[in-house]
């Protein structure tokens, strides 16, 4: 297994490398933008066809955010959570097309986790004020200050490692399986004298698809769901009850 390939370099500051992950992100982003334009294009008062699907998806998203965070956060957070879920799910699912999944690169998930971290701290400051936010670190007793700080910093680290680890583990296991199946086919087919026929890795057909259902489909959606869920729960917990009710 190798790291992401460097596609090209931006020739400023001594060359900034642009990796496969970044270019794949651009492709996914363009796809999401086109999908959104197509779904919301030509909207009517009485929905039909694709508009029904679009309204259903947006309604589900707003319901989920309202259920987990409260009425006060819906309008601000639902678009972000929807964007995060779509990018994460499609980014991991892109491995089905043979692209390198975005989330198999730690930088991507760390970026998302840091965004969530900023939102958690920002919401805490917004609801409790700077004084209240600082006071939260020495509660319940001042002795716990280092533990509280570590606890806050560990949050984005565990969130990003969880997402990265799940997708990267799937990638490692899939590539190991492909390697093993290639050698198995080579061993089984070596009695055939024709070098073209015995170099075909026949066992790679079909068998990896079963694992792919778990590692690509299930894990992608589950991890996207979990990162959104944790962001919502942590942000809502950092704020006060009044903010959740929208007062």
């Amino acid at each position: 297994m190798n790291g992401p390939k460097i596609m090209f370099e931006i020739p400023i500051f001594g060359g900034i490398p642009v990796t496969e992950t970044v270019t794949n992100t651009w492709i996914i982003m363009a796809f999401i933008v086109l999908l959104s334009i197509w779904l919301t294009h030509d909207m009517k008062k009485v929905p039909s066809g694709k508009q029904v699907i679009a309204e259903k998806l947006v309604g589900m998203l707003y319901n989920m955010v309202e259920k987990n965070m409260g009425k006060g956060y819906v309008n601000f957070f639902a678009p972000y959570i929807g964007a995060l879920f779509t990018l994460s799910a499609l980014g991991s699912l892109s491995s089905l097309l043979g692209m390198r999944p975005l989330t198999a690169d730690f930088s991507t998930t760390l970026g998302w986790a840091l965004l969530s971290f900023m939102m958690i701290q920002g919401n805490n400051i917004r609801c409790n004020g700077i004084k209240g936010w600082l006071k939260g670190f020495i509660e319940p007793v001042p002795l716990l200050l280092p533990i509280n700080i570590i606890g806050e910093i560990a949050n984005p680290i565990s969130m990003s490692f969880r997402h990265f680890g799940n997708i990267a583990a799937g990638m490692v296991i899939t590539s190991l399986l492909y390697g093993a199946l290639a050698s198995l086919s080579a061993v089984v087919l070596q009695w055939i004298p024709n070098t073209f026929i015995n170099s075909i890795p026949i066992f790679q057909l079909g068998l990896p698809a079963i694992l792919s259902i778990y590692f690509d489909l299930f894990t992608s959606f589950l991890q996207a769901y979990i990162i959104c869920m944790l962001t919502m729960v942590f942000v809502a917990n950092a704020g006060s009850e009044e903010a959740a009710r929208g007062e």
Binding site: R162, N166, A168, Y225, I226, L230
Partner: protein, 91 residues
């Protein structure tokens, strides 16, 4: 075989063994998630109408319980593919 090559081989072998040992961390989340899934099944049996809520709560709990296993996995991946310890002797 010169000296640095010899040490390099030892460090590589030790890294591979270390990666294998790091994956022992997988035992903990396995037990924890199995326990969570068992309790989830029990809860669905007791209250079948709350199946949706129970499943989402269980998946979320499983994901959080998984972190320790993921830390072990990350250490193993770093040891296998990034080889930070080899750089110490050659560099």
């Amino acid at each position: 075989m010169n000296n640095i090559e010899f040490y390099r081989t030892i460090v590589l072998a030790a890294s591979a063994i270390g990666a294998g040992l790091a994956m022992i961390a997988g035992i903990g989340p396995g037990i924890g998630q199995g326990y969570a899934a068992g309790k989830g099944a029990e809860a669905v049996g007791r209250q079948p109408e709350a199946k949706g809520d129970i499943t989402t709560t269980m998946l979320l709990g499983c994901a959080v319980a998984e972190s320790t296993g993921i830390y072990g996995l990350v250490i193993a991946i770093i040891l296998l593919f990034a080889n930070p310890l080899v750089g110490m002797i050659t560099g």
